[in-house]
Symmetry: C2
Subunit: 147 residues, 2 copies
């Protein structure tokens, strides 16, 4: 089992603000994909849609200001059953976000792509919380020909 | 042992152009750090320097248009002995770069940071080859408070 790991710091922001971007539909629509629907509470499912398909996430945990955990229950077969961890904390003027997309069965080429693409969306999350403006799909930054 | 994986695609570029950006001092200076010195041939060492330290890489393999492999021989202790793989290939109009920073002993928080920062520098590499202008240190994009 192999994981995708990332860390961003959001300047002049609180962990509570970062949490809002991960635990509300308006927040998620502002940095990942504009087509986000469903429920963001524990036990509910969020549907993220893109031009070429999408993902359904079951919210396993959601603790204000500290943690969000999703399990992938719908979407591309390589993602089903994997889990996406968001751990938040405050460090002075920075909201720190530790990201883990856990449980990939093999380090396939698609996992390389997803790692870079996650980083790009995390930078969109950072900019959204810092400035009010992210780059969610369909206006996202493209990293390669699969994108 | 855990690895950092990434994939970028460079549009309207050849694998030979991507190789030049990885195997010449002028290329490396244009997307990673302006303070790059040493030799880029097999068996030689490249010194990459940043405001807060740097890395020395021994070139283990360098095959035009297809592959570069570095071993980290100097720098932050967590990096010593790890290896950085660059695998290049052509897919139509795209130069595809598969990146692997292999051999981390533990998935420490610093590894999360380095994964995101590598993605950011890979996007700088992509822009450099596509447009002639990257964002090498000291003009690099910052991802968090360790940066």
């Amino acid at each position: 089992m192999v994981d995708i790991l990332h860390r961003i710091g959001i300047e002049n922001a609180t962990a509570a603000e970062a949490y809002q971007a991960l635990a509300t539909l308006d927040g998620l629509r502002a940095w990942w994909t504009e087509d986000t629907t469903g429920g963001t509470g524990p036990g509910e499912e969020i549907a993220f849609r893109f031009e070429r398909g999408g993902f359904d996430m079951k919210v396993e945990e959601s603790e204000p200001g500290s943690r969000v955990l999703w399990e992938v229950v719908g979407g591309t077969p390589e993602w089903i059953g994997t889990r996406i961890h968001w751990d938040l904390r405050q460090e002075g003027d920075w909201a720190i976000v530790l990201f883990k997309h856990e449980g990939w069965r093999e380090p396939i080429e698609f996992m390389h792509h997803c790692s870079t693409k996650w980083a790009s969306f995390l930078m969109s999350l950072k900019r959204y919380v810092e400035t009010g403006k992210g780059e969610p799909h369909p206006n996202d930054v493209h990293v390669d020909d699969w994108d």
